[in-house]
């Protein structure tokens, strides 16, 4: 079975697994004060800048929710896309755990625009309205599209002018950097992003996320937010080990991302040629959105699990991962072709 449901159906990349096994030698200080985590932090600083403050975390939802909690006071709101993971797919975690009001901005293919931000800041100083404090963008987006470096710079420029910070949900940042052929830093620190949820899990790790504060001082006291946010793993060295392998000179993060991206492009190319298949979003990273005849959906899902994205339109989502192979794509597409003929 090869799943196209989510990049997290794939397990762990073998080299990451080896790193985990290797980190098991001897006793080590718990709660992240160990040498493995120290080395991993240094690698993150190498990628994102020496001033980055790094906090390892167990889930992407936690990285997002706890960062936003840290950046806001109770009267603040966070501007986001209506399609964003924080707004749709975290079961109300930002609201329930952090008391945050999310305010959807106008978007284009799930991407926030500078205008979309400016429209929402007129309420500043009006006591009856939540006061925007953060803009949260997802790179790559939940619709498989990407912000260019310039688009991110423009968003940061507008946000900072309005007194807002910029958070990036980077659950698939590796895929974005690989697709745009830029470094992780060019997409984040150098573009003006203030804080990043950096995801390793979808990129081949077992369970490795990080809150990365890119501006000096911004992460102060976040250690308490993480602890009370139930994310301070006692045997944190095993998270550190994953990031250490992912980000070392072998550039596994990049290889994994490139593979996933290539497979998505191949899938879109091949499936898109079939009669009855409509690719609905630009395929810029490792997600393919398409509309196929309803009769094909269930039989195809049986062999290759995937999600229906929009019940109303019949749109489906196919995700690829570091493990997806050309054979998987061939097999998927030929099965789909068969079903279309019936």
């Amino acid at each position: 079975m090869r799943a196209f449901a989510s990049d997290n159906y794939a397990g762990v990349h073998p080299e990451i697994m080896n790193a985990i096994v290797k980190a098991n030698e001897g006793d080590m200080v718990s709660y992240g004060d160990d040498p493995v985590c120290a080395r991993a932090e240094n690698l993150l600083k190498k990628h994102f800048g020496e001033e980055a403050q790094v906090f390892f975390i167990g889930t992407g939802t936690a990285a997002n929710t706890l960062i936003l909690k840290h950046l806001t006071r109770s009267w603040n709101s966070v501007i986001c896309s209506a399609d964003s993971h924080i707004n749709v797919d975290e079961c109300g975690s930002p609201e329930s755990v952090a008391g945050i009001k999310l305010i959807p901005a106008k978007t284009d293919q799930a991407k926030i625009t500078p205008d979309g931000i400016s429209e929402l800041t007129g309420c500043k100083g009006f006591v009856h309205h939540s006061q925007p404090a953060v803009v949260s963008i997802t790179q790559g987006t939940e619709l498989g599209t990407l912000y260019t470096v310039d688009e991110i710079k423009n968003i940061c420029h507008t946000a900072h002018n309005e007194g807002l910070l910029v958070h990036m949900d980077g659950a698939r940042l590796a895929n974005a950097a690989a697709a745009l052929n830029v470094s992780l830093r060019e997409l984040t620190t150098d573009a003006g992003v203030d804080v990043l949820s950096f995801g390793g899990t979808k990129n081949g790790c077992m369970c490795a996320e990080a809150a990365v504060f890119l501006k000096p001082g911004l992460g102060s006291n976040f250690e308490y937010v993480r602890k009370q946010g139930m994310q301070l793993l006692s045997k944190m060295r095993f998270v550190g080990a994953q990031f250490e392998k992912l980000l070392d000179e072998d550039e596994l993060w990049l290889k994994n991302a490139l593979q996933a991206n290539r497979m998505a492009a191949l899938l879109a190319e091949k499936a898109g040629k079939l009669n009855g298949v409509e690719i609905t979003c630009p395929v810029e990273a490792n997600g393919v959105f398409a509309i196929i005849p309803e009769k094909c959906v269930a039989p195809l899902q049986e062999k290759f699990p995937f999600y229906i994205w929009n019940e109303a339109t019949g749109e489906v989502r196919w995700m690829t991962s570091f493990k997806t192979t050309e054979e998987d794509i061939e097999s998927f597409v030929s099965n789909l072709a068969e079903l279309l003929k019936k």
Copy 2:
């Protein structure tokens, strides 16, 4: 280096690590709907009863906080020990994440008594006071002591009579069961406990905790609490794999716990004989509390990390784990003996 700081300084038991590696085969449904988790759940039901509802979770703090959140409404309080992990060592997670008021009961060696509960329930129906809804006990306690089966039954009896549920923080439940020579079930389900935080991490796992609801229906909708509580790991199969190995017919949970307990007993016996060492709490599981001369503390910590428990009295805490050996104890005690002579 052998640490006596915490049972989580030890890494992962090799057989657990093997189980993790083995779980990496093939694509699997994410978020815990996979066959590995299903098998692990069945093993938990075997140990705790068929009616148990099991939810895997990443940290012990999360298990405690989210369970208590689930069992309470905003106006409820939770009766606990002043020494309890939820009250002291979770950076205010129950209050901050779940809005819960904790009310300390009188205790004897960190153990709550039925009388301690009854004293706190007079406020029922008085609108100005938080309304107690849950009693939370820790087994084994934060001071290394154990509730007997009868003591747990009495607490449950009193609590239920008062309309309260009983939660057990079982971060070291394995150690307790091993020491008392009873099954996990005798200490929990059969004794009347309603909900359990079951900890695998301190027992040799990498990162494996579970919220286990022991009464039918009590866990309904907890899946949402876990998700928004940022604890629904996408690659949950690797948590399932740990529990599967821990709880299978090899009884690794028991072996690991027995080893840790034996080493604590040995340590207490040997160190307790030294002039200048006072063992301060009954050594019933895998923790030893002692007062030693101040001059010995820092030099001993350098070789064998451990915590000062009480700055005022100079009391220290020594924890043993599944990895602690007789040689470790010999070495620790002889070093201590040396330092005492100086």
Copy 3:
């Protein structure tokens, strides 16, 4: 000066003030357990049904937020209009105080439709999404429009079929009932509404709101939510006194509402005839929305305070109250006419 900014610029109706003064005789039990509150509660039950559970409260924001907190668990969301007071004008109170996720439904003139509800309930049982539990409607709406009795019945029917409760923000319920020429009960209990925020303040009181649970049992334990929600006034008798006068056989609530409504209709009629004035919403209660030339806004506001509703379109809002007179309207309209000529 006569304000058209809000119905709360008007002070207190003289008869309400007399009732407050009269309630000051003698010592009385505090926190609402006094005979004045008891009489007021009985009057509310007379209007809304014997099974109503009534809780007096200090502000409308509190009535809304605390009711929604009471009706939801942490994983629930509330379906509302994007224009609703809870979504826009309470500085994030539902999110911050109660952790609630608000989900905007499609609306027509600020009115939710049954279809708008049904569209949002497909996520039931999907653990990644907040689970809708309540539909909140405002009667009369924030745009001055009204739900008919049948529209409310249809919403309740749809909501109940989906397992949702219906909350009504009735800050201006009196105006709605007066305009539709129906009883308070016909618009609420009889139409299927489950819980009501009933507002007296905009209707001529000083500070008098109530959470009214219309279905048996729904209000159980709300006394604790109110207390911890900081709304249990110690000298509650003075709130009770206001409701007692408002709702007694003199029907002050109705007289006040009719006067405000009549004045809004008169204003819309007269102002609407002026060249350059566009009435933008149906005028169904005591609010008039209009677009007037930008040059007229500031000079008119100086004499008759009112709010700009929409900076982008230049739309303004004029509210009338029980104190607004025909002379006020004449004066306002003739001033506007003057300004239009300039």
Copy 4:
């Protein structure tokens, strides 16, 4: 009937009521931006210092909870007395609404000592523990005792040295200042207090509390906390009017407090002389705590309502108010004397 249950059983002082009636003239800007509130704010600044930032609020629970919310981040705790109103009598409002962990300090007659504070600050920087940020003291205390000016200075000195702010719950500050024969300012601003919950309600008002920030800048953005905390009354002018009268040159606040205090002293003196009556706390303000034979409690309560303070010891609490007269005391004491004889 004359109640000794609470100072809030008394209604409103007639001069305060006149001020409310008088404030009802004409339309006024809502939400506190009116001239009455402006005048009242100025009077508060006259009493507490020109740098005070004043926010009117509806209940004392709200003043306490919202101030503490404003002064803390999620990882902070508040040091208080175990007997304090915030810890005992607000149904968990600080925890539930603001997520605050309260940590009880050792006390002497409900008064926190500098040593009691210092004992609790050793956890600074330890990520597993809530980080203390505020010390909250009550003046006069819940047991009717008073901090001297020097005691408050010492507490502020210790707290500030530890990096903590000092909050004063001044629900009965007027009684304290009257009893100690000092100005309101000497007990607060001049003694080093950072923030004050200033209560008018128990001092003869209907519903008038204020959050008063005594250090420049400390109250910034509190307007949002108040609004989302559901305490921004639309017709705030009527709260302003109460404070204006209470604090003007007639010094009604002082007269009312002196009367209540004198009556408590008289009651303690006369009742204390009776055989079988034991006064249990120093009577320093307007509360008398006593132990009387159990047989007397219920019959006495029937005529003069009061609370049993401690079911275990049989201790009762008698509160006096601005309305209590010498005749009330005579009557109460002679009734008690009668009952004692039976």
